[in-house]
């Protein structure tokens, strides 16, 4: 497993080979309030960088999840569809959203992907 990376859209990403695991950050989950609904991309679907691929909703608001890179969805976390509160309880753990197979995971070392420290600076922590 590589170092976890973050985006300005409050997503986290880890890479295992060329398979990325994507979720929303604890910070984003806290700002949304308790998650009561999650819609995830279909397994096998292709996703395009920057496009909305998943949605999480609290009673008060909607959070859109963007594809961090181009890729193919290999897995969606059915546990969060059945129990959306998993995202509130463990956004950066059991509350992961989906896995993406990508051409080259080294894109995470490029621009737009933040280290934990850089992400903390972004959210003012």
């Amino acid at each position: 497993m590589s170092e976890t990376k973050y985006t300005a859209e409050h997503e986290w990403i880890t890479a295992d080979g060329n398979v990325l695991t994507v979720g929303i950050t604890d910070y984003a989950a806290d700002k949304l309030g308790e998650i009561v609904f999650a819609e995830l991309p279909a397994v096998g679907s292709s996703v395009e960088t920057g496009k909305v691929v998943a949605e999480v909703e609290s009673t008060k608001s909607v959070g859109e999840v963007f594809a961090p890179v181009d890729g193919t969805v290999t897995e969606a976390n059915d546990a969060v569809v059945d129990n959306p509160e998993l995202i509130s309880d463990s956004a950066e753990g059991e509350g992961w959203l989906f896995k993406l197979e990508v051409a080259d995971a080294s894109v995470l070392d490029g621009e737009g992907f933040l280290t934990l420290d850089a992400y903390k600076t972004l959210i003012g922590e």
Binding site: D30, E34, V36, E39, E55, E57, T59, K60, P84, S88
Partner: protein, 378 residues
């Protein structure tokens, strides 16, 4: 609404209490108010099943005094206030000349010639200003007392037991004898307190108007005696889902200066039987245009809720007509399915009508139902 980048936020006299309790805050009409303490769902369920404690100190309290106060309020508001008894409360509306809604208010008659008008925080100056200008021809005085007053609400089925357990609350009659939409003046912490059996949650409950200096003491004492009754601090997030389930309109969502009361289902609040004139009377008598949209309640299946601003369509196909827009919506914590309020063209407002809400590109079926979505057992 002013730009808050240049306006410093306002803080409740209970702000530090909320910080200490670990609350998350949100901007509400320029105020930093608790949106939730831990879980808005747990807070919601606590109010339905036990009790919740709300800080509503951002609300505006406007005091009206003088021998012609009743006649003045009959003129300034659309309801008949002069028949409200001492101790009684009444929901009313402040209309503009065009018959639209400047604000919705609760009027408490506390004395022969003294009334408290409680307005929304975001409309504080609009409401106080309209009242003051309408008072010109009357022997009455309008004073905005919002700053020195705090408002704490205890809401939920255990509210009465909690108030009965509160030490140091001196009231002329026991709270148990207070009827819904009645209030009484008493003493707490060597100061005046108004205890009112009113609220915005659809549950039994009380609203406590008190001097800001006593707010912390009252909050802590209520939390202490409420511990045995399941009382939890409750934020604005659950207040919104509670009022939505109870079918209560929210200013800015369901009510605005462009909306006639009749469109919002509040026609009964406008007293056209009142003999005297009131601001907005002529427009109210003429009524809203026949094709004006009306407020409806919508229920859907699944878990995906329509939200404020989402378009409502007559059918599921691209070519089907857009017939309205959602004003409030959420996955109902109590009912477990999505609920929404929306303004729709009148021919689509009948209970049972099948409509569709455009939820970010997907049309979700929604059925018109009767308000409220949730009603407590008597």
């Amino acid at each position: 609404m002013t730009d808050n980048a240049t306006t410093p936020p306002k803080f409740s006299p209970l702000h530090q209490v909320h910080v200490d309790a670990g609350a998350s805050f949100t901007d509400f009409a320029g105020w930093q108010m608790p949106v939730r303490y831990s879980s808005e769902l747990e807070e919601h369920h606590a109010v339905r099943n036990a009790a919740g404690l709300f800080d509503l100190s951002h609300m505006a309290e406007i005091i009206v005094t003088g021998p012609e106060s009743a006649a003045f309020l009959d003129y300034a508001l659309c309801g008949k206030i002069s028949t409200v008894a001492i101790g009684q409360a009444k929901y009313s509306l402040l209309l503009n000349e065009e018959g639209g809604i400047i604000d919705d208010v609760i009027v408490y008659r506390t004395h022969e010639h003294r009334y408290g008008v409680v307005a929304n925080a975001g409309n504080r100056f609009a409401a106080a200003g309209a009242l003051a200008s309408r008072a010109a021809e009357f022997d009455t005085t309008v004073v905005d007392e919002s700053d020195p007053l705090a408002l704490i609400a205890v809401q939920g089925p255990n509210s009465q037991a909690i108030l009965e357990a509160l030490p140091g609350l001196d009231l002329p009659q026991p709270v148990g004898e207070l009827r819904y939409y009645w209030s009484e003046l008493g003493t707490y912490d060597d100061g005046e307190i108004l205890v009112a059996r009113t609220g915005y949650t659809g549950e039994d409950g009380f609203e406590l108007y008190i001097l800001s200096r006593s707010a912390e003491k009252l909050w802590h004492e209520l939390m202490r005696v409420g511990a045995d009754h399941g009382l939890v601090p409750a934020g604005l997030a659950c207040r919104d889902t509670l009022r939505l389930e109870a079918g209560m309109p929210l200013y800015g969502n369901e009510l605005s200066p462009q909306i006639f009361p009749a469109q919002a289902g509040l026609g009964r609040v406008v007293s056209l039987k009142k003999e005297s004139d009131f601001v907005g009377r002529a427009a109210s008598e003429a009524g809203a245009p026949a094709d004006a949209r009306v407020l409806v309640a919508l229920v859907s299946e699944g878990r995906r809720a329509g939200r404020s601003g989402y378009a409502v369509f007559a059918g599921a196909e691209d070519g089907d007509a857009e017939v309205g827009a959602v004003t409030s919506g959420a996955l109902s914590p109590t009912l477990g399915y999505p609920i929404a309020m929306a303004y729709v063209d009148p021919q689509f407002s009948e209970v049972g009508t099948e409509l569709f809400i455009d939820v970010r590109g997907k049309r979700i079926a929604a059925t018109v139902t009767a308000l409220p979505f949730y009603k407590r057992k008597a």
